[in-house]
């Protein structure tokens, strides 16, 4: 069992310094970070001392120096308070302290926690220093006593925020919001692009888990983080658009990226920025992957996506469209001069619904992803009197709303669970219903009914919710004898996708994991083949755009290290730590979120115009001012 000498993590004090029976079992503090043991740690939520020989005084100074970097310096108490603390501590270390210093330090800790402007100052900046002063007062009162203690030469530092931890790509969200608050839209966009090369796209369609983690959510409303990202991208586009910064170095190696979706584009951009030559191979006539052929125009206008892809192309990434990528030949690619390959072919094959007749090739039966792909590629699909869409995810909603816009008479979604289990974004569901999409809950398809090769109806069965399954949602169970039939001229199943994996030429083969996905190492994203990496939906199965961007970012770093003969290490220092937790909340004056305008439902279904409006600069600045700036800092040895 791991034991601590002292912990004040989360405000729960455990003090075993006098050899009292170990209460280690109750410690919820970080005792290991990224697999390594922690000797002593100072963080926003308290201090943890596992090794009593660590010098708290030098750890406190190291902590304050890092806190100093994070303080924005705008309010009168936080940065100046930190600087005053550092001056007092350094004077003490030099033997020039007086007794009253400790009282002044207590006062500053209290004053900053109570009166700082942002949540970093209030909840984070000086809390652990206050704990150190309180529980290790002798060390501070007599610095000479710590002479024999261990002073780490370098301390490790990690910074995050609840929103950053929730973001799959760990964007510096408080950072880019603060830049917007100060009217620095261009710098904000540059910061976003460090980890998100499709800012205008994610600013429109991201599922924004960051907003669920926002500390403000419990006070009034989450920050509109997604729309702020969009505001940064829109402001740049409105001003004429700035090109991406060019690579600073040139490297001789070339990398092949298979698939020009979000993962492929992110990897290509970062590899190019690192100086590599990059060729993107895409089977479709357009780059963008699911963002191009899976998301309808009313959510994501194509010119936004195309502009952001074009920026990557103008950086020197070669994009080859209409390239057959169903067969990868590492030998050939090597001969063509590619030192590494990144497979990011996505998941574009619809899953079977398990209904009788779905493979019969009836007219009027079409996979959801294929339906959206055809529309995106400009093909015509004639409207029919009625369509039934099967599924509860974003693809199902996208198909339904597209059908309305194409002029289908009646659009109905069939979902086997209830509204709360629906995986589609709540605002999408609401918008679809406003537009006139009907949703039939707790029903599953049994059989496709056709006449003369044409769909005429779908036979269904009613469901009820049973025990929770592996996904945590209640499992739908058929109700015996409740079969019914719905007349329809078209059926569009949309219950998930899987990758149509490319074959590998020669005697080699990719190791395939569950769900027909490519098996990779979780940290390095290496496949079983040397020099071949994979990421995005073809590894995770259908996931979000931001998750694909994150894998592309990480693949680029991993490929770079591979080509330089190194291996990346795991870096999730806050894994398993509740970064939303804070010991004091203080007073935050309530302020409702700024809302973006939506097109009226009637106008929306007349065409494919973008439904959601964005923020102009004043609205974005107003919303950015609501950010509490909840940076979380940990310094440890």
């Amino acid at each position: 069992m791991k034991t601590v000498s002292f912990s004040s993590w989360g405000g729960k004090v455990i003090d075993n310094r006098k050899g009292m029976p170990a209460k280690a079992a109750a410690v919820e503090a970080p005792l290991t970070i990224d697999g390594g043991p922690v000797a002593a740690l100072m963080g926003w939520n308290g201090i943890v001392v596992a090794d009593p020989s660590v010098d708290l005084l030098s750890l406190t100074v190291a902590y304050l120096e890092e806190a100093r970097k994070l303080s924005c310096g705008e309010c009168s108490v936080c940065l100046i308070g930190i600087d005053r603390m550092l001056d007092l501590l350094k004077a003490r270390a030099a033997g020039k302290g007086v007794k009253a210093d400790l009282d002044e330090m207590d006062e500053i800790v209290r004053g900053v926690a109570a009166n700082a402007k942002c949540n970093f100052g209030r909840a984070a900046a000086l809390n652990p220093v206050g704990d150190a002063l309180k529980y290790f007062r002798a060390d501070f009162a007599n610095p000479a006593a710590s002479a024999g203690k261990t002073t780490a030469k370098t301390y490790r530092v990690a910074v995050t925020a609840p929103c950053m931890e929730a973001c799959p790509a760990t964007l510096d969200i408080p950072g880019y919001i603060e830049l917007i608050r100060n009217g620095r839209f261009g710098e904000s966009l540059n910061l976003i692009r460090e980890r998100c090369i499709l800012p205008g796209v994610t600013g429109r369609v991201c599922t924004h888990p960051c907003e669920d983690a926002c500390v403000r959510k419990d006070l009034d409303q989450s920050l509109a983080i997604r729309l702020l990202k969009r505001a940064a991208a829109d402001a740049d586009l409105k001003a004429g658009g700035t090109p991406l910064a060019a690579p600073a170095v040139v490297k001789k190696e070339k990398v092949a990226v298979i698939g020009a979706g979000p993962a492929g584009l992110a990897a290509a951009y970062h590899l190019r920025l690192l100086g590599y030559g990059v060729t993107l191979f895409e089977s479709l006539p357009h780059a963008g992957g699911m963002a191009a052929v899976g998301i309808p125009d009313y959510r994501l206008p194509k010119d936004i996506l195309n502009y952001e892809i074009d920026l990557v192309r103008r950086l020197g990434v070669e994009i080859r469209l209409n390239e057959p990528v169903d067969r990868i030949d590492p030998g050939k690619l090597k001969k063509a001069g590619y030192a590494a390959v990144f497979i990011a072919v996505g998941a574009h094959a619809g899953n079977a619904i398990g209904a009788e007749g779905e493979d019969a090739g009836y007219d009027g039966f079409m996979e959801g992803v294929e339906f959206l792909r055809r529309i995106s590629l400009g093909q015509k699909i004639a409207p029919r009197r009625k369509v039934v869409i099967i599924g509860g995810g974003n693809v199902a909603i996208d198909c339904a709303r597209t059908c309305l816009r194409l002029g289908f008479g009646e659009v109905e979604i069939l979902y086997r669970r209830s509204l709360i289990e629906m995986p589609a974004r709540a605002e999408e569901i609401a918008e679809a219903q406003e537009e006139g999409v009907k949703i039939r809950f707790l029903a599953a398809p049994l059989k496709v009914v056709a006449k003369n090769g044409k769909v005429t109806a779908i036979e269904c069965i009613k469901m009820k919710l049973g025990e929770p399954d592996a996904s945590g949602r209640r499992r739908p169970v058929p109700v015996k004898g409740s079969e019914f039939s719905v007349k329809t001229e078209m059926i569009v199943p949309a219950i998930g996708q899987n990758p149509a994996l490319p074959a590998v030429a020669g005697t080699e083969a990719l190791v395939v994991a569950k769900g027909n996905t490519v098996a990779v190492d979780a940290v390095t994203l290496r496949t079983n083949l040397d020099g071949v990496f994979a990421g995005g939906d073809c590894v995770t199965g259908p996931a979000t755009l931001i998750e694909a961007l994150d894998m592309g970012n990480r693949a680029a770093r991993s490929i770079d290290l591979y080509l330089q003969g190194e291996t990346p290490a795991a870096e999730r220092p806050f894994a398993g730590i509740d970064t939303r937790a804070q010991r004091t909340k203080g007073f935050v004056s309530p302020a409702a979120s700024v809302e973006a305008a939506l097109l009226p439902a009637k106008t929306r279904i007349e065409g494919f115009d973008e439904v959601e409006g964005g923020f102009d600069a004043p609205a974005a600045i107003r919303e950015a001012n609501r950010c509490l700036r909840c940076y979380r800092l940990m310094v440890w040895a």
């Binding site: 303080s71 310096g73 009168s76 004053g111 408080p174 009217g183 007073f587």
Partner: protein, 235 residues
Amino acid sequence: MIEITLDGWKVKAQEGSTLLSHIRARNIDLPTLCQHDELSPFGACRLCAVEVKVNGKWELATACNTPVAKGMEVRTDSERAIAGRKLAASLLYYRYPATRAVRDLAENLGVAVAAEAADAKECVLCGLCTRTCREIVGVAALSFEDRGLGRDVDEPRIAFDANACIGCGSCAYVCPTGHVKMEATGDKRIIWDKAFKMATCQVCGRPFAPEDQLKYISARTGVPMSRLKTCMSCR
């Protein structure tokens, strides 16, 4: 109208009004450095800290950017509120010991202030200039240089965008410490180290406004440049 309790007094308040406006209306002396009635509240100087009751617990809040709420209980004279304001003032004094505006504030709040003859007129980051420039002038030539994660800015400071500035001088007038200097020599105005050519009045021949400012006024209001060639006194 709603009712709040301020230092024990029942006070009627317009929804959306700030605590500070009611505190000032009752002639309670609460110092501020970053507040201006014509600008959005910034809450940076922390000198208007008062106590507000939240879920039965008293918490510090800055009066300038806290809107009133129904039944809100506020106290300006508690030990903690006074200590909070004094600490903010003493830290400002610690950072800007020779700037008169800060010294005066600190002294008023009970901070021991040493004698000092000269006035260093330092920038205290109150943000009055940045907000005036953006919100009143509509130009945004001044903004905070952001510090923070991954930013390589050692000390906080105000950044000046010479391309955007029209030389109107509003920032110099609003600056509480005299840090923003505006100098005039002949037909030149120098502000933030940028020299602006002054337009001369076609009647009296005296320089009266920066040419860039006149162009800006013309572009914003639609008044043709030909009508902006005479100074106010000669009009």
